[in-house]
């Protein structure tokens, strides 16, 4: 009995470990290096807004890291599921219970703003809208965008990332002062669900078989 259990558990372990090794990374993260040239409006008071809006059943996480500016950051006003503070890493999350998630920070503009943007890639369910991250430069007095852009939603965002379930997402840049470059040329891999499950199951079986 003990021998048969060991043979069986070893076979299952081998199968799970193989699955862990060979399973392709099907889930990846959108990742872009964003650079905003604000030299033309340097010295102006502004607000920098990151809006993550829930489009449906899918939940996503957006991380802003490596933030850098020669301007001066001001007061922060977060809304929704936000963690962290710039220039450190800031994370925005959405969920059915958290529709509008915004990281809003005051900013005296310098000549440049740059940061790395990472987003998970959970696409919308059928007939739902995708989650979207849109970024704005706002007038702190009016709360309206500092200048018009070619944003086709007529919202004057600098750029918008539609998290449509594809590996790169759908990034639209609506002003010439913004440049967006995919980070390292390749998306940041995330372990796929099957790989994680396979690895975890293999570990449990390995521990269980050692106990026997």
């Amino acid at each position: 009995m003990d021998f048969r259990f060991r043979v069986l558990s070893t076979a299952v372990f081998a199968l799970c470990f193989t699955l862990f090794l060979v399973a392709p990374p099907t889930a990846v993260a959108d990742s872009f290096t964003i650079s905003v040239n604000t030299s033309a409006i340097a010295g102006a008071s502004a607000q920098l807004a990151f809006d993550l809006i829930n489009g449906g059943s899918a939940s996503n996480t957006v991380t802003i890291s490596d933030f850098s500016t020669d301007g001066t950051l001001g007061a922060v006003s977060p809304t929704g599921e936000i963690s962290g503070t710039l220039p450190g890493t800031v994370t925005l999350m959405d969920s059915p219970a958290s529709f509008f998630n915004e990281y809003l920070t005051g900013l005296t503009l310098g000549t440049t703003i740059s940061f790395v943007l990472d987003a998970t890639t959970n696409g919308p369910a059928a007939s739902s809208s995708p989650d979207a991250l849109s970024v704005f430069l706002l007038d702190p007095n009016t709360g309206l965008p500092l200048f018009p852009t070619s944003d086709p939603t007529l919202s004057d965002s600098l750029f918008t990332l539609n998290i449509d379930g594809t590996s790169a997402g759908n990034l639209g840049v609506y002003t010439s002062i913004v440049s967006a470059t995919p980070t390292s040329g390749t998306p940041v891999p995330e372990p796929p669900t099957g790989t994680l499950l396979g690895g975890g199951l293999a570990f449990v079986i390995w521990k269980f078989s050692r106990r026997h």
Binding site: D51, I53, N54, G55, G56, P96, A97, F99, F100, P124, S127, S128, S129, P130, D131, A132, S134, F136, L138, G143, L144, P145, D151, P152, T153, L154, S155, D156, S157, T160, N162, I163, N170
Partner: protein, 371 residues
């Protein structure tokens, strides 16, 4: 000859009046026919972006023709199942019969070809509570009639989007040949369109003139048809016996269709509008009402907007006298009210009935309350 010229003039005036009336009263979208075309398109929605100027959450929709056929205008994007109800569409072009808002789609000239897309269709949602919301979209064809860009005709389309009928208000001018001249075939074609533009009644009278020898009388034989079109195309058609022409309104105040086009009044009369008879049909060519024999000569006739009443104004020939008469008949129970009047006092030949059938405006603007 003289009568023919007068009829021609009447037709021209009727066409002009009908055109003006059609242009002045845009179709009521609430009663138009909307046909779901979603199986022939792929709809993609963008994420939501907050427009801080309008305080709306904006989304862009792309519609791609995934079928193998051209999709013709007019197409609309209907927004339905918008929940919760505190969220509303801020930029609707109208509402469909179910009360769902829609926005008009800018279909390219010539239609949306297979594989072709309509991009950046903007949806603006008011969401003051900033709560998660959902909605569904479908592309629908708004069937019915529309005025051609040059205003010369009414174009009627099927749900498939194809133009099945272009109705010229006056298809062809009457050309009178000389008594010794060639045979002239004349076709009159006039349309009567329902208020909601969902139905069209078309009268066609083909008249073949026959040279009549040395005299100056024009003689000929007419063939009349009356075709009835609904949103799906032609519903039915009746052809008159030769020599017993259908009468067609030559006055834009003569209503042959109910507001929603579900009933149509047909008038048959002998040449000279003598001995008219009246028949009301439904969409399936069922006879709802029929009458004849009251009037000697027809002046005006009309079905009420709600289809419940028949108005007729005309003359009754009596021994040594002619009497004017207006009758209002309840089509449901065939009970009539009569309003006789004296002819020859320069009355203005206009009749009209209110939508609910309770008020009649007749000669000289007198208002008569119906029983």
């Amino acid at each position: 000859m003289k009568r023919m010229c007068l009829r021609t003039l009447e037709l021209l005036m009727a066409g002009f009046c009908l055109l003006i009336t059609s242009l002045a009263t845009p179709p009521n979208c609430a009663a138009q026919t909307f046909v779901d075309m979603s199986s022939q398109v792929t709809i993609t929605k963008s994420g939501l972006v907050l427009n801080r100027a309008t305080n709306t959450f904006n989304s862009l929709v792309t519609i791609k023709n995934s079928s193998s056929t051209v999709l013709n205008a007019p197409l609309v994007l209907v927004i339905s199942n918008l929940t919760p109800t505190t969220v509303t569409l801020a930029n609707p072009s109208g509402q469909d019969p179910s009360g769902n808002p829609f926005v008009n789609l800018n279909v390219p000239t010539g239609g949306l070809s297979p594989g072709q897309s309509i991009s950046n269709v903007l949806l603006q949602f008011q969401n003051p509570a900033r709560v998660a919301f959902s909605f569904t979209t479908q592309v629908e064809f708004r069937s019915g009639a529309s005025i051609s860009p040059d205003g010369s005709s009414i174009v009627f389309k099927t749900p498939g989007g194809a133009t099945v009928l272009t109705i010229l208000l006056l298809n062809q001018e009457v050309v009178i040949s000389t008594p010794q001249g060639n045979v002239t075939n004349v076709t009159h074609q006039l349309a009567n369109i329902s208020d909601d533009a969902s139905h069209v009644g078309v009268y066609t009278n083909a008249f073949q003139f026959v040279p009549a020898g040395a005299d100056t009388e024009l003689e000929g034989q007419s063939t009349s048809t009356f075709a009835y079109y609904g949103a799906s195309g032609q519903l039915w058609q009746i052809t008159a016996d030769p020599g017993n022409a259908f009468y067609l309104s030559t006055d834009s105040s003569m209503r042959l269709l109910t507001s929603d086009g579900s009933r149509i009044l047909m008038i048959s009369a002998q040449e000279g509008d003598i001995n008219p008879s009246f028949t009301v049909y439904d969409q399936n060519a069922n006879v709802i009402y029929q009458s004849a024999g009251t009037f000697s000569e027809l002046d005006r006739a009309q079905i009420s907007p709600n289809g419940m009443y028949l108005l007729v104004m005309g003359l009754v020939y009596k021994q040594n006298a002619i009497q004017g008469l207006i009758t209002v008949t309840n089509i449901t129970n065939n009970v009539s009210s009569s309003f006789p009047f004296s002819v020859g006092i320069g009355a203005v030949p206009v009749i009209s009935i209110s939508s609910d059938g309770r008020f009649l405006i007749a000669y000289q603007g007198n208002q008569v309350t119906l029983p």
